[in-house]
Symmetry: C2
């Protein structure tokens, strides 16, 4: 027997992958059961629900915020530099109340920040072997609620930095004086104006330009429905401006995106305005990483306990 159930369990979404014994994904499921919005019955109910009908004999490996404080169990971080082997050594087996086991991938800690990640380490471990051409010296951008810029050298994560871009966008576009309540199809021009304003903000930075979105809107120079796209451009542009000012992209390093296609398209557009050419993103990186980690950890060979009868 073989195979694996891999879980990518973040703050807002829970994704489950069923792998066959060769590592091929047989089925993917997604629920809005992130650790901040669990169903009734909590973590156990979410796990049972999303794996319903899948063999209980398969090992289960979870990455992401499920292993954070506020998650199901708090799993210690692994310090940088970290390669796949070091992450494998940090995998923690937790005995659940029903007698079955769940394995947790540890997050990474960059002591120089300090900075932390949970989940992105698995995406990186999944992506690096697919890009041996650049993995010798590369910078990986993982856009999201808490975007990461990670440096990889010879297969090891050597440093990373978090930008709260996605969370700031959600807060400002929904709850601030910049919120418009109107939505519109993606307005590329307003997005590009925001990116350019951030790029051209110099050392003062785009935080000092946020209010300009309101001024432009009140003057009729920015349609209310386009304010969100302008703001998105301003914040993603600021991420690039600050990352470049902070030398997060090492000289000579290739930049590579990992993440959700529509969001990565915005990052590619922003990068182009900084004269950086970004290739389309890698997809399913978390699934690749979960399989690779489970394989190296020997989880595919473990005997899995059947749940105790209630």
């Amino acid at each position: 027997m073989g195979g694996l159930i891999g879980l990518d369990w973040g703050a807002s979404t829970l994704r489950a992958y069923k792998f066959d014994e060769t590592g091929r994904i047989e089925e993917t499921r997604s629920r809005s059961w992130g650790i901040r919005r669990l169903p009734e019955g909590g973590f156990a109910a979410a796990l049972a629900g999303i794996t319903e009908g899948w063999p209980t004999t398969l090992a289960r490996l979870a990455c992401g915020m499920v292993g954070s404080r506020g998650g199901w169990r708090e799993i210690p971080y692994v310090d940088l530099p970290a390669d796949a082997t070091k992450v494998v050594n940090g995998i923690t087996r937790v005995q659940l109340d029903n007698g079955t086991a769940l394995h947790f991938v540890p997050g990474l800690r960059d002591p120089s920040g300090p900075d932390l990640m949970r989940g992105e380490e698995t995406q990186l471990i999944g992506a690096i072997p697919l890009h041996t051409d650049i993995a010798g010296n590369s910078t990986w951008i993982l856009p999201g609620t808490h975007s990461k810029w990670a440096s990889v050298r010879d297969g090891s994560v050597t440093g990373f930095h978090t930008f709260m871009t996605g969370e700031l966008f959600a807060l400002l576009s929904e709850h601030s004086i910049l919120a418009q309540g109107e939505t519109a199809p993606h307005d590329q021009e307003s997005f590009a104006r925001g990116v350019s304003a951030a790029r051209d903000s110099g050392a003062a930075g785009a935080l000092s330009r946020l209010f300009s979105a309101r001024a432009l809107m009140l003057e009729g120079r920015l349609p209310p429905a386009a304010t969100a796209d302008y703001l998105s451009g301003l914040l993603i542009g600021e991420e690039f401006r600050a990352a470049l000012a902070g030398h997060l992209a090492a000289p000579g390093a290739t930049l590579q995106l990992i993440g959700e296609p529509a969001l990565c398209e915005r990052y590619r557009h922003a990068a182009a305005l900084f004269e950086i050419d970004l290739a389309p993103p890698l997809r399913d990186a978390a699934a690749h990483g979960l399989w690779k980690l489970a394989e190296e950890a020997g989880l595919l060979r473990t005997t899995v306990e059947a749940p105790r009868p209630c």
Copy 2:
């Protein structure tokens, strides 16, 4: 007869001043009836409520967000450069539904931003004559939800810049992953750490350091109850860093604070960490400004209509 009712009507608070015919404040009232949280009956009920028992023969002059889009009436902005006379010329008399009149102070517009203010122009007009020693070349900091840094030359406002510091602090400390739900007495040390982190963030800026608050807290290096003070320091420090990087304080200009004492104390502490010595803030600047504008506009001599009987 003379005297005046002055209204400082912002997004969250409504303040009313009753002046005697010499400009002395006889009574001050404050209600949480900002334009975003009006009582039942809206603007008219708020005005009637806060001026209850005061003579209906007094002229009434209002400044602040009450004159913005989303306020009671939208009053056009006056473009920079602007002195008291130019603001007086922009005062708009509005006939209310009950037949009485309310005068509105216009806001200011800096075309070079673009940037906008409503209410702070009245505080500046109140403060400048009290500081003729520095008003020849000065920079005024008005901390708040939307902090302003304003340049004044020879009694005229020549430029200003808005930082959304207070609004960002409220959003992040209450609704983001940095929210702790715990409050504690002001922790000066954590505040100073935040200011220093922003000061030392260089051209990358402190927006890229926000997540460090969570990392420090999870590592036990920042008490959860002190996270809000660290965040406050980081954001106020970023305001100073960006303002100095953007040359908002003109060379040779004296810096002066206007605003609420506790918040201004934080700005003085932050300024000290940037080796800037800030004097204690001016108070009641809005009241001084309302009186001065009403006087120059000749409102103290107008005949005021009695309300129509219902």
